[in-house]
Symmetry: D2
C-alpha cells in the first residue's frame, strides 16, 4: 500500500484526492492546504486523511511514500525538490516548472534518488488520446505531417500565468506523445489585452524535424468552448473533438497527398470530404484513475512513467521559447 500526501486542494486537488482514495493499492494519508476553508472541505470528503496547514511535517513523515503537488506553478520546483530530498516519489502537476533548468534539476534528482517522477499530463491517459496513439503506432496514419489544435473558451481572469501556460501544455504534451521527433523552432503571436500583463489569446507554431509542423490556437476569450484537433498523416487523417459526446475521434480514409488528376481536384472543390470516415469506439475509463494506477505500477516496478520528467521538460522548453517569441511578435526561437 503506497501512502501518499497531497499538497494543494484547490481546483484540481479534489480530483487527485478522489482518485488516490479509490485506488486499491494507495492510501491518501494526508492533505495539506493553506486555506482553512479548503482544508475543511478536504476533511468532509476524506475523513481518514490527516489535515495539515504546512508542508514540513509531510516531508518529515517517514510513513509517506509519495507526494502529489497541485499548487501554483511558481511553487513546483521548491516543493518537488524537498520531496525528493525527503526520499519521496513525486506526482507533479503541469506545467512541471517555471524554468527549464528547474526541470532539469528535478529529473536529475529523481534519477539519483531512484524515485519516480510523474508529470500530470492527464490527457495522455484518456481513451481518445490512447486510441489515436495506438493507430499511429500501428502505422495506420503513415508518416506524421502535422498537428493542428484549437483549444479556446471563456476564462479571462488574473492568474499567475498567461493563456499559453494555462492551455497549451495539454496540446504540447499530446503533440509530443504523437510526434516524438526533435522540436526545432517555436514562433508565437498573441494579443496584449488590458495592458501587458494579460495575454488572453495566442497562436503557437512548432517546427519539428522531417518537416512536421504543429499549430496550436489557445484563447480565454472565445464565446464558445472549442476543442478541435486535426492530426495529419501521409495515409490517413484524424479529427479529434473532445467536446463530442459520442464521436470524439473521426478517422478519415485520406492522407496528405498531392492530387494528380483534374477530376480529383474538381471533387475536392465541391465535396466536404473524400473517402470513408470511421469513428472507433473509445473506452471511457477516467484518465486520472488510469494515471494513478500507472504511478503505482511505476513505483512498484521501478519504471519510468509515460509522462515522466523528460515529457514534462519538453513542454516547459516550448513554453519558455514561446514566451520570448510572443514578446517579439512571432520572432522564431530555436530550441
Amino acid at each position: 500500500m503506497i501512502q501518499i500526501g497531497l499538497i494543494g486542494y484547490g481546483y484540481w486537488g479534489p480530483n487527485l484526492a478522489r482518485n488516490f482514495s479509490s485506488n486499491p493499492e494507495m492510501k491518501l494519508a494526508a492533505i495539506c492546504d493553506f486555506s482553512p476553508d479548503r482544508l475543511k472541505a478536504a476533511g468532509r470528503n476524506h475523513p481518514h486523511a490527516k489535515l495539515l496547514n504546512e508542508t514540513a511535517s509531510l516531508f518529515n513523515d517517514t510513513s509517506i511514500d509519495a507526494i502529489a503537488i497541485a499548487t501554483p506553478v511558481s511553487t513546483h520546483f521548491e516543493l518537488a525538490k524537498k520531496a525528493f530530498e525527503s526520499g519521496k516519489h513525486v506526482w507533479l502537476e503541469k506545467p512541471m516548472t517555471e524554468k527549464v533548468e528547474q526541470g532539469e534539476i528535478l529529473i536529475e534528482m529523481a534519477e539519483k534518488k531512484g524515485k519516480v517522477l510523474i508529470v500530470d499530463h492527464t490527457f495522455i491517459y484518456t481513451g481518445a488520446v490512447r486510441k489515436i496513439k495506438d493507430l499511429i503506432d500501428k502505422g495506420e496514419l503513415g508518416d506524421m505531417i502535422y498537428y493542428d489544435s484549437t483549444r479556446v473558451n471563456l476564462g479571462l481572469f488574473q492568474k499567475d500565468v498567461d493563456v499559453i501556460w494555462d492551455l497549451a501544455p495539454h496540446d504540447i504534451s499530446i503533440m509530443d506523445y504523437f510526434m516524438p521527433y526533435k522540436k526545432l523552432t517555436v514562433s508565437a503571436t498573441g494579443s496584449h489585452y488590458y495592458g501587458k500583463e494579460v495575454i488572453p489569446k495566442a497562436l503557437l507554431t512548432i517546427y519539428m524535424e522531417n518537416n512536421i509542423i504543429a499549430h496550436i490556437n489557445v484563447s480565454w476569450v472565445s464565446p464558445v468552448k472549442i476543442r478541435q484537433t486535426l492530426i495529419g498523416g501521409s495515409n490517413k487523417m484524424i479529427l479529434y473533438d473532445d467536446n463530442e459526446p459520442s464521436e470524439k475521434i473521426k478517422v478519415y480514409d485520406k492522407g496528405v497527398e498531392m492530387l494528380k488528376t483534374k477530376e480529383d481536384i474538381y471533387n475536392m472543390q465541391v465535396q466536404y470530404r473524400v473517402g470513408d470516415m470511421w469513428a472507433p469506439k473509445i473506452d471511457n475509463i477516467e484518465a486520472l484513475a488510469l494515471e494513478t494506477q500507472h504511478f503505482v505500477d511505476c513505483i512498484k516496478g521501478n519504471k519510468k512513467p509515460l509522462t515522466d520528467g523528460r515529457a514534462g521538460l519538453e513542454v516547459v522548453k516550448i513554453l519558455a521559447a514561446s514566451k520570448i517569441s510572443l514578446a517579439g511578435n512571432g520572432i522564431p526561437i530555436d530550441l
Copy 2:
C-alpha cells in the same frame, strides 16, 4: 445597359457569366478563354455571347463598357492595365495583383480614367457578413478586440499560388471590412511539404492599432472542411460558421472582459457558455448577384465600390508581407 466582356471561363468564370447574364441592367457581350473546351461550354450556356480565343478584339471593341478578369493572378495586372487603357470599367478577381506596386498603379489608373475598379471579394456581399457588419456598425459588439478564423479543407495540388494566396484573401478582406483599422505587423508560419514549392498549411497573425489582433488558419490538408470565424468585441462576441446551413451567425451575449468574482471564474470553468445566444435571420440573396448590381450602380453613379482598389490592395499588402514572414519562420514584418 452595360455591355460586359468576361476573360477566363475556368472555375469561377461560369458563376460570373451566370450573374452578369441575369442582371437586368447588364449584357454579357463576350466571353474569352484560350481553351477550346471551355469556350464551347461557354457557348452552350450563353448562346448570345461572342466567343473569343484572344483578348485584343475585346479591348478594341468600343461597344464594351466593362471587362471582368477571372484568370490566374499572375495575369491580372497586365489585363487590367489594358482594360483601363481601353477605357473600360474593371471587375477583377481576388487577389487583385501579385505585387503591391501593381495594385497601386491600377488604383491610380482607375482614378485618372474615371473608371470603376471592383475587386471581387465575394464574401463581403454575403448575407452573413453584411449582417455582422451591420451589428458592428450599430455598436452591438462594442470595441473590436479580435478576429480569429479557421478556413481549412482538402485541396492540395500544384497551383501558381500557395495556400495563403488561395484561402487567406477571404479572411483578410472580411477582417478589414469589420476592422477598418491600421494594420501594423504580420507574422506567418507554415509547413513546407513536398519540398519548398508547396505550402499547404499556414497561420497568419495580423497586429492592428488599438491592440486588435487577427489570427487566420488556412490549410489544404484538412480531412474536413471547417469555416469557423470568431469575432470578439468588448460587449458581445460572434461565432460565424459558414458551413452551418441554418445558423451561420451566433451572437453571444458576452464580451471580452475581466472576470471579477470567484463565482464567475468557477462558472466559466464548468459551463460551455455564459449568457444568451441569438442567431439572427440572414437573407440568402446570392452574393454575386448583389455584387453585380453594386458594380452596375457604381458605374451608373460614378461611385467607389465597397470592395474597391484600396480594399484589394490592403489584402495584397498583407499577403506580400506574409510571404516574407513565412520564409523567415514567423519573423514579424511591419507593414
Copy 3:
C-alpha cells in the same frame, strides 16, 4: 430537520441518497435494500445512515418523517400505502403505480393523512424544462399547438416494463406540465420483437382538447441517443434537445400559421428556417437538488408539490390506455 428513509439502492437510489444527504434541512437516516452488495455500497457512501435489509423497522421507526421509494414499479403501491399508514410523507419514483386505481387510492390516502406525496418526475425540475414553462406562461409561444418528442437509445433488455413504461413517463409528464389541458384519446403502436414479451419501440399519440396533439417516439433499439422535443405554439416554436451541451433550448421566432403569399411558400421550401432563433441561458442547478428542496418546502409548508399525485396519476392513465391501444395496433382509447 426532516429524517428520511430510502427504500431501494439500485440504479436511481444512489442519486437520491446523495441529494438527500447534501440538503441542509434533511437527514438521510436509513437505507433499505435486499441486496447485501448494494447495502454495502450504500454504507461506504453514507456511513451515518442505518442499513436495513427489510422495510418493517423503517415504517415502525417514529423518528422517520418521510420515505423515498425507488424500487420496481410493481412494488410502489404496497410500499407507499404502508408509508402513509405509518404516517410518513412519501417520495415515489415514476411511474407512480402500475394501475390507475392504485394511484387514486394513494392520492386519497395522502389527502386524508395530511401528508405530502411527491412523484419523482425529475425532468420537471431541470433548468431547460423550467425555462420553457416560463416562456409558455409568459405567453411567448401563444396558444399551444403540439408536443413532439423523440426519446430513443440503446437499452433492450428484459425488464418488468416495456419501453413505453420506461421512457414515455418523462415525456408525458413534461407534456402535461406544458399543456395542462384535458387529455381525450390515446393511440399507440409498437413492434413486438422477440415474441410478445418485449416491446422495444413504440409511438404514442395523445389527443387533447383545443385540437392540441402530442406525438412521442420511444425506443430501446436506436444506435444513437436522441432527445429531441419540438413544442409548437401559435406565435413561436421551440426545439429542446437534451443532448446539446450548450444550446438545449432554441426558440424560433415563428409560429404555426398558414402561409398566405406565394413568396412565403417558396421561401419555406428553400430555407431551413424563417425568423430569428434565440438560445436562452439555462441555469444548471442539479434537478434532483431542486426537487429535494421542493419536497422539504412542501412538507414544512404543508403544500402540494409541482409533481404531486395528480401529476403522477395523469401519466399512469395514459400509460394504461396506451397498453390497450398497443395490443390493438393503434386502436384509439378514450381516457
Copy 4:
C-alpha cells in the same frame, strides 16, 4: 434519341427539364403548361423545346416517344391514361395516383401496351439510399427489424393534399425499397389544425410480415428541417441524415439484440453508443440524372424500372389506408 414531352413546369418540372435536356440520349421536344408565365420561363431555359398550352397536340405528336407528367396528383391518372393510349412511355410524378384502382389500371395499360412506366420516387436514386440498399443486400445489417423516419419542416399552406400525401411518399418508397416484405396493417394519427381541411402533422405506423415495423413522422409545422432515418437490423443499424453535408450515412456496429450481462446493461445506460461507427463515402451524382438515364435504359432494353408501377402503387395503397386510419384517430387498417 428519345423524344420526350413534359407536362407541368411548376415547382418540380424545371428540374426534370434540365435533366432531360442534358441526357445525351434524350431530347426535350416539348413543354406544356397552362400558365403563360411558366411557359415563358420554360422558353428562356429551353429555347429548342416546343411550348404548348394544351396537351392534345402532345399526345397526337407521333414523333414523341415519352411523356413526363409533373402536375397535381388529381390529374395524374387521366394524363397517364391518355399517354399510354397514344402509345407513349410514361414518367409519372409521385404519388402515382389518387386512388388504388387508378394505379392498378395504369400498371395494366403499361403492360398491355408494352410501354415503360416509371414513378418518380427520386430518393431511390440518391447516393445515400443506393449505398444503404447495397449494404442491406450484402447482408451487412442482418435481418431487417425496423424503419423509423422523421421528415419535418415548415410548410403549412393550403394544397390539394395533406402532409401525409406530400411528405410520406418519400419514406414509404424508401422503406419499401429497403424492406420488400408484405405490408399488413397501417395506423395513422394526426392533428386537425385550422379545422378539418388541413392535417399539418402526422404519425404513420406500418406493420409488415416478420414483425418488421415502420414509424414515419411527417410535419409541416416544425421550426427546423429534420431529415433523420434510423434503419435497424439484427447485426447493424444505420442513421441516415439527409441534412448532413458530409456524413449522410452512419453505420453502427451494433444490432438489435438482447443484452445479457449486467455490465452490458450498465454500459448502455451511461454511453451514447456502443461499438464503432463508420461513415462510408457516398457518390454525389444527381439522383434525377441517374433516374433519367435509368428511364432511357428501360425504354431501350424494354425493362421494368426500379421504381415501376408496382412500387408506385404500394405507396398509394399505404397512403389510402392511412387516410382512413387518420379519420379514425389511429384505428388499424389492414392492407
